[in-house]
């Protein structure tokens, strides 16, 4: 079997593993049965292994680092998103109920890769033949995976905030009012709440056992991911500028891909500033992060699919 064939077989294996992991994760979210979660983790890690294998085989087939076109970026992106979730969220923060959404994102990315961007393992144009390519592309993909994961949590946060508000107003409208009625401040900044990271699985308090983790946890996860991804994005854009200076003779030329990476940067800068400003925390900042999510997608996909420019390696 050739390396190219192996690469595409492993790609399919990874895709099916992620689909299975997604189903199992959602099953765990819905029914809270421990075996679902264990199985999702195992299948998820198998998926990551297949994904890594697919990337390595691709590199062997093309005789170069396998991130040179949109298909290869997307495969790497899916791998990093799942890896970031498994390591940071599951292992570091011990939040176990949101995996399904992350797997769904990885599946979307891989589906886009096969349906819109597939090309065989080929050589690169000489302009792409620079070690700045490795640094630029690697950091952009890592940053994209972190920012995108952060945005998945932002969406979950907004969903959870709504349901918490509903529960709260339901509580308030009860007659007679519950003891908590006046004491819970729905507009309080979703800053760190001690115990917000406590396990929400079977070990959690009975009140926390249904549905998503508390909004404070989701908000903090979103913030951590975006905060982690933002400097890497900055670094990646700067490396791109250095490479552009070497290849095209200018470090910045408002090429669509450059412009959109700048727009994404500006929006996430807004988010980080809003997070640090009273009156903008919570849902407003989350709204900005959502705009950043859209911009990230335009930068990553739309520029290559619809807008002509110098970054047309995807064709």
């Amino acid at each position: 079997m050739t390396a190219a064939r192996l690469s595409s077989d492993l790609f399919n294996a990874a895709l099916f593993a992620y689909i299975a992991a997604m189903v199992l994760s959602f099953a765990y979210l819905a029914f809270r049965k421990r075996p679902f979660h264990t199985a999702a983790l195992i299948v998820g890690w198998i998926g990551v292994a297949a994904n890594v294998g697919s990337i390595v085989a691709r590199g062997v087939a093309a005789h170069r680092t396998p991130w040179g076109n949109m298909y290869e970026y997307s495969v790497l992106l899916a791998c990093l998103v799942v890896l970031a979730y498994l390591v940071i969220v599951e292992w570091r923060y011990k939040v176990q109920t949101v995996g399904g959404f992350v797997f769904a994102f990885a599946i979307f990315t891989m589906a886009m890769a096969t349906s819109f961007f597939y090309v065989g393992p080929t050589d690169l144009l000489p302009a792409l033949n620079s070690y700045w390519r490795q640094i630029h592309v690697t950091s952009m993909i890592v940053a994209t995976s972190l920012l995108a994961t952060g945005c998945v949590f932002t969406i979950l946060y907004l969903v959870k905030v709504r349901s918490e508000r509903r529960e709260l107003s339901a509580m308030r409208s009860q007659d007679p009012p519950p003891i908590l009625g006046g004491a819970v401040d729905a507009d309080a900044p979703p800053d760190y709440v001690p115990g917000a990271d406590d396990p929400v699985g079977e070990a959690a308090a009975p009140g926390q056992r249904r549905g998503l983790p508390p909004s404070a946890t989701l908000d903090r996860l979103a913030y951590r991911f975006i905060q982690f991804g933002f400097p890497i994005w900055t670094f990646g854009v700067m490396c791109g500028a250095i490479w552009a200076q070497q290849t095209w003779g200018r470090y910045w030329g408002w090429d669509p891909k450059e412009t959109w990476s700048f727009i994404t940067w500006v929006i996430f800068a807004c988010y980080l500033h809003a997070r640090a400003t009273a009156g903008w925390r919570g849902a407003k900042a989350a709204g900005i992060a959502l705009v950043g999510f859209v911009s990230l997608f335009v930068t990553y996909y739309a520029v290559n699919l619809w807008i002509a420019g110098l970054h047309t390696y995807a064709k």
Partner: protein, 543 residues
Amino acid sequence: MSSPASRLTLRQSVALVWRTLRSMRTALVLLGLLALASAVGSLLPQIPNSPERVSAYLVDHPFWGELFLRGGFFDVFGSWWFALVTALLFISLVACLIPRSRAMLRTIRQRPVQAKELEALPHFASFAVDGEPEVATARARSVLRRRMYRVAVAPDGRGVAAEKGALRETGSLTFHWAFLLLLIAVIVGKGTGYTGHATIVEGQTWTDAAFNYDGDLRTGRFSSGQHTGAGIHLISFQDAFRTSGIPMDFTSEVELLDPDGTPVRRDDVRINHPVLFDGLRIFQYGFGWAPVVTVRDRTTTLSDGPVVMVQDAGPDGNQLAAPGEGFVKLPTLRPQYAIQLELIPDSTAFIQSLMTGVPQPMTQVRAPFMRYTVWKGVLTDPSLSGLDTRFMRKVSTGIVGRGWTVDVARGCVISSGSGSGLPTGLARTTRCPAGGPAPALTLSFPELRRYSRLQISKDTTVPYVLGAAILILLGLVAAMYSSRRKVWVRAEAREEGTVLQVGGFALQRKDRFEEEFPKLVAELRAATGGDRPAREPAEAGAR
């Protein structure tokens, strides 16, 4: 108008404007506007990037096109409103940064302030220790110093106030100030620099002067218009392709000359490997064919030299498969003449394209030849690359191989050299009859050279832009990953012995501090001999 009330109003309104500019809300709105303007700039074609698409847009959408053109939407990044948003953003930034920087300097000069009632802090521990309170305090101080805290000992020698994480604000300020540096460096560099393209045929020398660029010289707004006068002599151009036709590398071997023409050094300009010379950055940009063509009439040589050929395969075609096109114009003859040339550098690949119907890239020189078309009449097109044949008449056509001389007036071959290697199917051309009068107009194709297109840029502030970018990144990382912590230690002499109280709180990453604080307490305990059993229960951790 000099009544105190109106003066107050004026001052109030100025203060209001200043306050508004300084507010985070304004900064966020301005950042949003910047993002929005950039989005418009990427969705509409832009004059500096793709002027031909702007013209097409103007033709397709006359009303909106005109409107957009007037509003500067086809040059968003050079428009007054983009500059205005950027300027306002930077004014807002500076307005914010000056007081913050002052406060920062004050904080750095100040020593940490002592606190009372440590029990009230979010994190608290107390335990009995050995020795006098002053000794325990001194030990605690050195522990905190070791952990990178800035420390101040209380006047009575029984307390320590400690802080760390000043790097957070320093980093944030560095990050923001560096943006100002970046903006200035970019404006100065782009404003005083220039960029353009130079076409140099192998064996020729090009000099940096405004009129030597291919008509696309872009000069900055504050440029003095001076050029360096440095010379670039192209020794040779080489390309390398894979068998699949995908290019591997392009190299221009150049000799660089002083303004007075003295050779300074040799260098290779390659893709991704620009050459820096005399303040100019020289980049490999393009390449093509330049056949040497000699045109004579009965008595004189009318034209002799390489003709730069343009390969145009349309938007989707492979440019390497397209024949090169060029012209020799003879304006001194009456009537005027023009010879249109079409170069096939690789006749083997050309024949393959004809047979298979699939255009083959022509990357090597294999029996090159040119098709010529001779036009007679009035030359109206002044440009070098085009030919307006409306007032001209076709005289003859034919082909000329390398090393051949042809009589273009009659369309026959005078001499075809030896072993030109042209395939017989193509070489079937009429020979001029021997004897007779000397030919009126002859064309020779003695050799085929290549030309290289180099991009020449002068931008003096690139190192400053890079420096500012590095500062931005360092500041960002410092601001995001350092967290401020405050810790106080108080030693008290009680009847049961000396008791050390430790209190602390974190301004950022409070969850991380929850793990840090017990470790700090354990270290303090070990350093002060606090591990002897305490008489009152010690407690450590979050409250």
